[in-house]
Symmetry: C2
Subunit: 751 residues, 2 copies
């Protein structure tokens, strides 16, 4: 009866044809005019547009972008970084190829730099102070590209200081490593520890060391970890992609993320800042990275017992533990290592550049695509391979936009983040500033940092709901090279798993905190992904591409060794572009929430297999978890069925399409699922980590991280202890999150 | 161009008339069939339905509901409480007058009860143990209604124990009161403190007392606070509405809310529970409430210096401070007070009953209307006046629903909460269980606990966005009595303020944590309100209605003294019903976010006036706050203008209506504004309080609570101290929240 009233009011005495025309007026989109969004509520992904975008993404333009982006070192907040801010603004504000708008967002953040007037020094000194050896202050200029402008290698956020002591070798500097040294009778008090990159975070090496009385930490890159053992100049860059002997990995030694002084608050000039002495997660003692040429001089001259096999790298000598140098070596016995670290903390302005394409139908739904801009060095690979692709994607989409050919259904936000290298600072401040609206409106976050590590295969990391859209996109795009395979079919040859649902599929990696997706997934609970082209792991075991964070990460390096024809760049651009368009333009969001069920089952199985007996001994039942996983699975499957039913009544196939609000309602369920896994009180000791499924799992069981970590800690404790109470608390947190997630997916009109 | 493609796909070669018919098919609502929601996307509030509901809300049926609900005492989890669960289910599942569905949700929660075999005892004993006086274990049976079934007065959650000591009088038991006693040289160690209700929370009296060495606490109701000074049997119930001398206020002495053992987790049987010794917010020492007849025997016999004027009540004698009794009084000097408290903690099942009317268009948007069901006593007033109204509203709406006359645009959830009296437990567990989906989907929460305190005027508490809908509703409803005024015009005569925007308007109160709205507003950030009819404050200063939580809170009491013709009940029913329908049925949500600007300006002015000088002395500028308030105001005003523009293109007035998605998008902004004020890290010491504007303000400045409290604590501290860092942190938290709120209100396609 009710509709008749409304109808009456609308059409008055008009005839049925008039009604048709009026309603036509209502339902037919007027144009893709941004000032009149929402006029075509059923706008869906246009495959012609998608194909056009795929075709227009141009390898040679990506190459040219890369050249421009990597001309100079551009560490965060430097004039060169600022110059790139302007480059981005110019591109995104271009009237023919730009976006609807672009703007900078500046934050005042705590960075750490070496002192240009007083470079950091590492020396071997005799007991009388005689200097026997002074280490290379900078990489060698091998190709003319390693200009002096590049920052001296340093450990950002490591404090200044001039520690001196006998040297010990501490492997990767993990807590276990230092414990083993003590167990083997090596006195650590007052020593300088030489460690190699890998295993634990950079800052963790110094934090762990300090707990054992170590006064300074050196960190080097072992050729066994980075060069597949090769270490001669003839075997390394510029003669191969290998790290030259003088190459030094710079990096942030801050263990958390976001501006260290303003946790959970945007770093505006007026924001509350911690006292500098209250920052957590930074080294309490001086630290300095060195190259393996210098490291060899130290390590191969150590006295003391030999290291066990797993501690040994490829320096081609004994790895003794110290303390101090051996009798017959290069230095007089009793010589010590002296570090002079002059790093300075500075409050600096760092900008994010954000560009927007406003959505035509649902401008309040955001797909965010970002990469950082800052680099320790020229940064051709890190991050400019990503930014070069980003700029090509915005050029192609911007052109379609400005021509009036296309406007996405949802809004797209492009981001060039600042100060990522120091600790994901720009992206984290962004999520802190716009917390509430980003959580409510963001469909997904796409991160493309280093877009090309190598030429072999796609590598994708993400949460389960993004698997399906990445699969759909990659099945339609050709892999680089002459295989004739799709990116998908090529990928599955390198990295695959047996899915209980789909059979053999490419294997999606999980998201840690290695790039700017961290605050999106862990803090805001937004479905996120990271895309790149990468290695054939049967051909190299390199920890990362060898010139990572060194002065040899140059344009030439990319052109010669990584992607000469930029076809891998293009492949990543097409993949990211296709995923982006599918997310921004599809009527129904291409997020398959049912794919979480497989993850949950695998976590559950691991809990049962690896922890079941232990839990039983302490009278803790996994039954509620079993029930919660089933409940989630049932709700997800039912929602997927409901969406299929709605899709089969979409305008292409029926004259009874789903209403715009019906579509919006299921899309909201899909978009908001990931939020249901957040619990800001789950991990009070881990800043920003709120996602109960993806917080760091430092235990051996591949299950729910809170449960795994709590069990590992409780293992030796008595039932009834606080450690076991924490296990039960973590179990309840997961069960509650799964039930909440299931509730999000159930029919919305029920509780 | 794009629309043409879609169009092509939809209609193929069909003629324009065909298009009209097809689109007509698409846009014309089919019916109000719940299985086909969303078929009339423009469905708006129907004034005929609203008027029908107003007419059908029947005072005599409310009276009959109340009689049924208050026949017996029904403390949470008792068989009588369970019987009411069934009564509610029966009503809400009725095929002719019920809702779409109704269900119970059970939680396993920690309650506290007196021991029936071993009643609590308070005595005056001589030094040799002789009992000189034993206090009334129970209210006197004055009308035959005060059955023995009613629970003995007790202080829920106060621990068992048998403390004995000299008596002191400690006024309201605030921290300041105990400090003043010590300042006046009264030795508190080992004493029993007699306190009166009011000032601070029940539990706080015992928590404060214990800090000063007090071993037991008695709490009484002073006739000056509850009876306007009257205390004779002839002046009190059943001869007037006054509290009889034997009346004792029961209550929870738990200072927080939610199940004490499962903070932030739903209290399911398998949920993690704290060790009982780790509960916070409960009295560390025994406590017991007593009536003023008994209190007079104690207080009027105390020795020691006289209390200051503000500490004196209306017992008609000196209020001496003690310790101990005077020489020439009723008890031998040296006599002590001995308490025997045998309260027991018990894990019990308590149920919420939830009933749903599914929305026709936006079933994923919820308007929640609730009240608790449990009572310490018969509970005619508290809470049955509210539940009687609730049941009448569901009967009227259920009837329209079952007849097919009406189905709301959005879903309506009716709730009968369990165990509110123990600490808002049922509602809090509900918000913990459905956290994520409630936050994402709930438009507003309406609470009607005690619906009638008295007959004079409406009293409404709520956050600013609900002001407008309450005003709209009350302007259209007649006030009870013969004034001929609307509820609004009557209300403004009793409680008003001068609004900078509207001139003189009724004054909305703020929401504390006095009823089940607490977790909705403070924990989830959902716009909430509490509605009731209440006193003429010029005629009584009673702290609350006199028989509150006593055995005299009976059906007879309501009929004789509170609302003989149930017209005030009807007025509240109409107000709540009209507000509910406006929220559930209006095309545009009737939440005026601009009304927050006035509050923010008033908070800002108070900060400037009351704290400005102090802050300046410590180099803290309020400028960022000034800017943030302006930014909010501008964004809110712009959104209100935009909504007006959209409304003027609504189907009644134009053939170019706003699209369903355009309406949904602005409604989402309105709905989610309140969420932007949440910060779960703002008040770590105050469980569940996350709303940075409405957390408890215990300081004197009527401004942002975090700022006010931090300033009060820092007042005596040095600049640079942690206390001043906390002031700056709180200031940044407010500024960030306001900026986030402004960002939510700004055009959605921008950042």
């Amino acid at each position: 009866m009710h509709w008749a009233k409304i109808l009456g009011a609308v059409v008055g005495a008009a005839a049925l044809l008039g009604l048709g025309i009026i309603l036509g007026h209502f339902a037919i989109p007027k144009a893709t005019d941004p000032s009149a969004p929402g006029t075509s509520d059923s706008q869906d992904l246009d495959l012609e547009v998608l194909n056009l975008v795929m075709e227009q993404l141009d390898a040679s333009r990506i190459r040219e972008n890369l050249r421009e982006l990597s001309q100079e070192p551009h560490v965060a907040s430097s004039p060169q970084d600022e110059a790139l801010v302007h480059l981005l603004l110019e591109r995104w504000q271009d009237t023919a190829t730009g976006l609807d708008s672009a703007k900078t967002y500046e934050y005042n953040v705590l960075l750490s730099f070496p002192n240009e007037e007083q470079p950091n020094v590492v020396e071997v000194v005799g007991q009388d102070g005689t200097v026997f050896h002074s280490f290379q202050p900078q990489e060698k200029n091998l190709t003319g590209e390693q200009e002096p402008k590049v920052l001296q290698p340093y450990a950002a956020y490591a404090p200044a200081g001039t520690p001196q002591g006998l040297l010990v070798y501490a492997n990767q500097g993990s807590e276990e490593d230092f414990k083993e040294l003590e167990a083997r009778g090596i006195k650590l008090e007052g020593t300088i520890a030489l460690t190699r990159y890998g295993g634990v975070g950079r800052g963790a090496k110094a934090i762990n060391a300090a707990k054992h009385g170590v006064v300074g930490v050196l960190v080097y890159t072992d050729p066994g970890d980075i060069n597949d053992g090769k270490s001669l100049p003839s075997e390394t860059f510029p003669n191969s992609w290998g790290l030259p002997p003088s190459g030094v990995e710079r990096g942030s030694y801050y263990e958390y993320f976001g501006d260290p002084l303003t946790p959970y608050l945007p770093a505006h000039p007026s924001s509350f800042r911690l006292d500098i002495n209250n920052i957590s997660g930074i080294p309490p003692i001086p630290a300095q990275p060195i190259g393996f040429e210098d490291a060899r001089d130290l390590l191969c001259n150590l006295t003391g017992p030999p290291a066990t096999a797993s501690w040994k790298g490829a320096l081609g000598c004994d790895y003794n533990l110290g303390p101090g140098f051996k009798q017959d070596g290069s230095f007089p016995a009793g010589s010590e290592v002296k570090m002079r670290v002059h790093n300075r903390l500075e409050l600096k302005n760092s900008s994010n550049v954000l560009g927007i394409i406003q959505g035509a139908v649902e401008p309040d739904r955001y797909v965010i695509y970002g990469n950082h801009r800052d680099s320790w060095v020229d940064g051709a690979v890190d991050p400019s391979t990503g930014t070069a692709v980003l700029l090509e994607i915005t050029r192609v989409l911007g052109t379609l936009l400005k021509k009036g050919t296309w406007r996405p259904r949802r809004s797209i936000i492009f981001a060039s983040w600042g100060a990522e290298e120091f600790g994901l600072i720009g992206s984290t401040e962004f999520t802190e500033e716009f917390l509430s609206k980003l959580q409510e409106r963001t469909v997904a976050y796409i991160n493309v940092d280093i877009s090309v590590f190598a030429n072999a295969t796609l590598r994708a990391q993400g949460t389960p709901p993004v698997q399906s859209v990445i699969f759909s996109a990659t099945k339609e795009i050709s892999a680089p090279g002459r295989s004739g395979l799709s990116i998908y079919d090529n990928w599955i040859r390198y990295t695959n798993r047996s899915s209980t649902v789909y059979g053999l599929v490419p294997s999606l990696g999980t998201l840690g905190a290695g790039s700017d997706y961290a605050s999106f997934i862990h803090f805001l609970g937004i479905s996120s992904m990271d895309l790149a082209y990468t290695y054939d792991r049967s051909k190299t075991s390199a920890r990362i591409y060898p010139t990572y964070h060194t002065a040899f990460d140059t344009f030439d390096y990319v052109v010669k060794f990584l992607d000469p024809d930029f076809s891998s760049h293009q492949a990543v651009g097409r993949t990211a572009g296709s995923v982006l368009l599918r997310l921004s333009d599809s009527l129904f969001l291409p997020l398959n929430v049912s794919d979480y069920s497989e993850t949950l089952h695998s976590f559950l199985r691991a809990a049962q297999t690896d922890l079941g007996t232990l839990l039983e001994q302490h009278n803790i039942s996994l039954d509620p978890l079993v029930t919660a996983v089933k409940e989630f699975e049932t709700a997800a499957a039912a929602l997927v069925r409901r969406i299929s039913a709605l899709q089969s009544s979409s305008p292409e196939v029926t004259d009874m399409p789903s209403s715009p609000l019906q579509v919006r309602m299921v899309n909201d369920q899909l978009m908001l699922l990931e939020r249901a896994f957040l619990n800001p009180r789950a991990f009070p000791e881990k800043p920003y980590y709120s996602h109960v499924l993806w917080a760091p799992n430092t235990a051996s069981a591949a299950t729910f991280p809170g449960l795994a970590n709590a069990c590992a800690r409780a293992q030796e404790a008595n039932s009834g202890s606080e450690a076991w109470a924490e296990v039960q608390r973590q179990l309840s947190i997961v069960v509650t999150a799964l039930e909440g997630a299931a509730a999000t997916l159930k029919p919305v009109e029920d509780l």
